[in-house]
């Protein structure tokens, strides 16, 4: 008898055999009806021991040639960022494109863009955890790491936008020798400091708490005493004791419950930076939900991009299956429609409000000199994801990859449209102007991708990229269980 026949739930499937539909067992259900069993979340008939091997392997061997190539490219982009930032600090803000009337330029665009990317990780780990979406276990570790790195990228931009970044610490309220001159707590910009730093630190905590049992797994596999001691310290001497699991699970649930409103609060507060001003096109009550859903949309697109690489280059196909990709495609379709709905609502409200200024801003957005940015935004965000109505498209790796890239391009242009079109033509035609990114703006934008991918590539080298203990929890024990020792097997045979 092969092992998977031991249980009606145990099904050993390969990635290519997954259909995205439940397995029907005629007559196997209660009262003689059909039994529908979800397809396994881990394919290939993996055992728990295989999970350790497959996932820890990448952190335990010398990097592959592919990794070195990817890392070199990322480092090249990171060095572009460093050069551009040093130049910016040396020469001043004059080398960037911002000027009157467009005084918020690419730095604010990039800030909102990266914070948006950073929303998917905590959403996957917290919200999907509370909703008991077990497929999150395959992707949550990498998605949370992505969140941290995206927040790190985002954090650069408000600071360099200050113009005098060496005074960035003035944003922190502390007793000082300047009066004491405090920050203005009525300002949305002061709220931002608290929102972003809280989000970054809570996401880091959540991620690290999730890592603890897996670090212990890496420790137990380590052969070198230093490596063992290092991972032991990092896991705080985790043993897997159920007396520790009891508090751990409770704390994890609480972190999820706290992180869920936190995710929604962060982009809400970012949108307040715009909404609390009196600029037409910014001063709207739709901004918080509009920003939050856009952030989730772009974050999931980035997760799909990264997971495509992890499936292809890191051999994670058994853990990040096509079913996982399809689930993310469905979220992309849903949030894409929400974003499209928000674009339409803005236009409706501009007309319905009867405000001359509001109406002008929106006509100018879609048909003014920046019509091309609006067209890119609307096409990539509202129209392109509609291909995911078709199941074959949701399960097509290349389509998923291309759409995820287009969505990220579209979401960058969404922020471009919001920031630039509202500012470039304000109430007085005499003060109208145009905005263009300079080469330094481009260098910092593309350089920030270098920072992001450098951090991500280092992460996949040193830490388990899939949440081992969580994946083990959703595997079928009949398939995944360990085998008795030789002595015990002999004793069983004798009996």
């Amino acid at each position: 008898m092969t092992r998977h026949e031991a249980s009606p739930y145990a099904t050993v499937m390969d990635d290519g055999h997954l259909t995205g539909r439940p397995i029907v067992r005629p007559g196997a259900g209660p009262y003689g009806g059909d039994l529908e069993v979800p397809e396994p979340l881990v394919t290939g008939g993996k055992t728990w021991a295989d999970v350790d091997q497959d996932i820890c392997m990448h952190a335990e061997r010398f990097p592959t040639k592919r990794w070195w190539i990817a890392f070199s490219v990322a480092l090249a982009f990171l060095s572009v960022l460093v050069v551009a930032l040093v130049t910016l600090f040396y020469a001043g803000m004059g080398i960037a494109g911002v000027n009157q009337p467009v005084s918020w330029g690419s730095f604010i665009i990039n800030f909102v863009f990266w914070i948006g990317i950073g929303h998917a990780g905590t959403l996957i780990s917290a919200v999907l955890f509370l909703f008991r979406q077990q497929w999150r276990t395959g992707i949550n570790r990498a998605a949370e790491a992505m969140t941290l790195f995206a927040v790190a990228c985002a954090g650069i931009f408000p600071i360099i936008h200050l113009g005098r970044p060496w005074f960035a610490y003035w944003l922190v309220p502390y007793p000082n020798a300047r009066g004491p001159l405090w920050v203005n707590f009525n300002s949305a910009l002061a709220w931002d400091i608290f929102a972003i730093s809280t989000y970054g630190l809570v996401s880091l905590t959540f991620w690290y708490v999730g890592l603890l049992p897996d670090l212990a797994t890496v420790r137990d596999r380590a052969t070198h005493p230093w490596r063992k001691a290092l991972y032991n310290a990092m896991s705080f001497g985790w043993t897997g004791s159920h007396r520790a699991w009891r508090h751990y699970e409770s704390a994890y649930m609480i972190l999820a419950a706290l992180a869920t409103p936190l995710v929604f609060s962060v982009h809400t507060i970012v949108s307040f930076d715009f909404a609390t001003s009196v600029m037409p096109g910014w001063h709207t009550t739709i901004f918080p939900p509009y920003f939050v859903i856009g952030a989730i949309f772009s974050g999931f697109a980035m997760v799909i991009t990264l997971m495509t690489f992890m499936r292809g280059y890191f051999g994670m196909k058994h853990y990040i299956t096509l079913n996982h990709m399809e689930a993310m495609a469905k979220i992309l379709l849903f949030t894409g429609m929400m974003v499209g709905f928000a674009y339409s609502t803005e236009f409706f409200m501009a007309w319905y409000s009867g405000s001359e200024w509001e109406g002008f801003v929106f006509r100018n957005r879609a048909f003014g000199p920046y019509w091309w940015a609006y067209a890119i935004m609307f096409t990539c965000n509202a129209i392109v994801p509609q291909v995911f109505w078709f199941k074959s498209m949701r399960r097509h790796t290349l389509v998923l990859f291309v759409v995820s890239i287009l969505v990220n391009v579209g979401m960058w242009f969404e922020r471009y449209v919001i920031v630039v079109t509202s500012l470039h033509r304000d109430f007085l035609p005499s003060s109208w102007g145009m905005y263009a990114l300079t080469r330094w703006d481009y260098a910092i934008l593309f350089g920030s991708f270098g920072l992001f991918f450098t951090l991500f590539l280092l992460f996949v080298r040193v830490l388990p990229v899939v949440a081992i203990s969580e994946v083990k929890g959703v595997m079928d024990p009949k398939v995944a269980r360990g085998t008795p020792t030789r002595a015990a097997a002999a004793a069983i045979q004798e009996a």
Binding site: W182, F185, N186, T198, V202, S241, L262, R481, A488
Partner: protein
């Protein structure tokens, strides 16, 4: 040959359901200083081990209130008391404007504090003598390991061994590997280069590992 300094007994199971059933039997047999080491949390294990629910949520609630008080205190002190400034004739104590930071501070205190205290609780709120970390159990791989400590009031080595075998556990063995003080994996603080290497060597010699090892 009976070990001279027995610290407890180990036995393992291969499926969470077996571990759950065994835990309930250990609880019902009146053992108290026992533990289960598992690769992932098992639903219902708290009840099977006779434990109460975790008290971490109360810690979170207290910390959340502290966070709220901190943020309200800071903002009102700065904006009303220390340096009141007139922004367009708005009131100094503009409470709606204080809500975002109050919320963020609440989450910050509650989340970080709960995580830190849960980690500390996992190390301290345990039985008097957990299994020595020097012993390879395979509990982080694929085994559900039962540990009964010799500190248990009911302890008797022969009886404990017979009991654990009766549960259907595999790999039952009495552990006398009380690690020397100074071993990096004894769960205590201490230093000593010599004992560290000696401890590691002994682990390789005496203990069987998980499926991989």
């Amino acid at each position: 040959m009976m070990p001279t300094s027995t610290t407890g007994i180990l036995g393992h199971f291969y499926e969470p359901a077996d571990a759950l059933a065994a835990a309930a039997k250990v609880r019902d047999a009146g053992w108290t200083h026992f533990d289960f080491l598992t690769p992932f949390p098992i639903h219902g294990m708290e009840a099977a081990m006779g434990q109460k629910k975790s008290w971490i949520p109360y810690v979170t609630a207290v910390l959340a209130v502290c966070g709220i008080l901190f943020a309200q205190g800071l903002q009102n002190y700065v904006m009303v008391w220390d340096w009141p400034m007139n922004f367009g004739g708005k009131p100094f104590a503009a409470w709606p404007a204080f809500i975002p930071i109050t919320f963020e501070a609440m989450v910050f205190w509650a989340a970080l504090g709960s995580a830190v205290i849960a980690i500390i609780a996992g190390k301290t709120d345990t039985i008097p003598q957990p299994p020595p970390m020097i012993v390879k159990t395979g509990a982080t791989i694929d085994r559900f390991v039962l540990w009964i400590s010799a500190t248990d009031p009911k302890w008797d080595a022969a009886r404990a061994e017979a009991f654990v075998r009766s549960l259907g556990a595999d790999g039952v063995r009495l552990v006398d590997a009380a690690p020397r003080p100074g071993s990096p994996f004894d769960g205590r603080s201490g230093r000593g280069e010599h004992s560290r290497t000696a401890g590691l060597r002994r682990q390789d010699q005496t203990d069987e590992g998980g499926t991989h090892a």
